[in-house]
Amino acid sequence: MPEFLQFAFSGLTVGAVYALVALGFTPIYNASDVINFAQGEFVMLGGMTTVFLGLAGVPLPLAACLAVVVTVAVGLALHRFAIEPARGASAVALIMITIGASIFLRGAAQVVFDKRFHSLPPWIGGDAIRVGGATILPQSLVVLGGAVVIVVLLWAFIERTLIGKAMVATAANELAARLVGIDTRRIVGLSFAISAAIGAVAGILISPITLTSYDVGTLLALKGFAAAMLGGIGSAVGAVVGGLLLGLLEAFAAGYVSSQYKDAVAFLVILIVLLAIPRGLFGRASVERV
């Protein structure tokens, strides 16, 4: 039993990480139907910028805030210089652009920062919490709490503000949104800023657990994406549930089946979800016009 509980706790810890990363996909996807393959690099930038500002003597909380600002600037630049000029391109072209951006950012991070692994001290310290013979780190709860806060903020933003409504309108029908006076270009830009900010916060919160380096983005983005798929891409609640589920699946697969193949779980999940329930658990129905 303690073994089962320990697997569950480590699953929830990893799951909270995936949930945070998965959340970052939702704003951009909701506003523009683009799946941003550079989302993992936003996570990496958040963590790495904080680490290096910290090494330069900036107090960590300030470094974290600056890291969010830097990442948002990168997100806005990505939209302005790569996504915006490619308006009307096919889904494949947009995927290639964000993949190009992801490779570019990784290469740039390798030059600007370095190639080593770095860690951040936990944002909330203290001993591991013991429950029924198993332990969980307080930092895991911070990550989980961060995910919940972001879901609530996103919900409030979409449901309670005019700009949020404009974002929903842009996603539903860009032309119609423009006709009622919404500056859709700015709305999509805003969605990139929000996704970048969520990614940066994720990177800052998870670095004490996962460590960070210039190339952590790819795998994190793929896992986060699998989580988002599982929960139903575009749904914030789905991202969190999907993330936790994926984390648990991985932990139990590692514990009871094979730890070597735990990374394979995420991709099996992607394939199974795509083929069996393409909308995910919480996704909206999609209608295709021909």
């Binding site: 072209a93 995927i95 652009i97 490779i103 030059v111 994406f225 699998a226 394939l271």
Partner: protein
Amino acid sequence: MRALLSHRLVPVVAMAAIVVLLPLLFSSAYYYRVAALVFVFALASIGLNLLMGFAGQVSLGHAGFMGIGAYAVAIGPTHLGVASWLSFVIGAALSALVAFVVGRPILRLKGHYLAVATLGFGLLLAIVFTNEARFTGGPDGMAVPRLVLFGSSVWGAQSWYWIIAASFLVGAVLALNLIESPTGRALRAIHDSEVAARVLGVDVAKAKLAVFVVSAIYASVAGSYLALLNGHVTPDVSGFLRSIELVAMVVLGGMGSIAGSLVGAALLVVLPQTLTFLHDYEHIALGLIVMAVMVFLRAGIVPTLARALDLRRA
């Protein structure tokens, strides 16, 4: 004359001329090696181009098939006692079989979803190659025994250059013939509009699956050659970045242009070799190239040039 110039085999004749004349410029084995690498990747790009440029389906996991081909020629002779050339053929057959089994469900997906599913498939293969260390040597990879043909083993970059370049030409001719066949027309119809193609009686699912299998065979053959040329294989051969490179070669040279695949492969293989002093900036450059091509040169290099020449002539 004009009819002769617009014949569909003109690009092949031109490429054959390149293959024959190129060695005149080579001053060392290193050049043969780099050129052989170009043709390896051009071969894989042609296959992927059939899928992307003609059928309009993306695959971000094609390096997985390269991996099957590469490990086939490594594992077959080393562990199973199967002759190298036979392993080569078995690898291609295995890739075709895997593509057939996986393609049936996956190709029902579209756009983003297809991209992600193929990506997941490629990564799964890479994970298997990394983990089955008993057979594959794990992350460090394994040595690839030399190919033995007619009793003597193939050796040296120069021999490989001729073998691989000849295979590339054969692959290019087969691809051009496929494009002009009824299947090729069906594929282009699917690219333009799947619904319209279906209305006209095209068996869309079957045509897509057929081209997926063909493109997997191209990738597998290229993977086998890559492993034999290097004499060594690691799981990187089927990595995510490799798949992206393949897609970049196709879009850079031009989707739907067989000659474009050669141009794309040449650029992405030769540039990093010549700019070794910029090694740290390799990823920055690759990322920028991919983004810039997708934004500014959406048709790719060869189709854009061809159109510019046509305009001048008209």
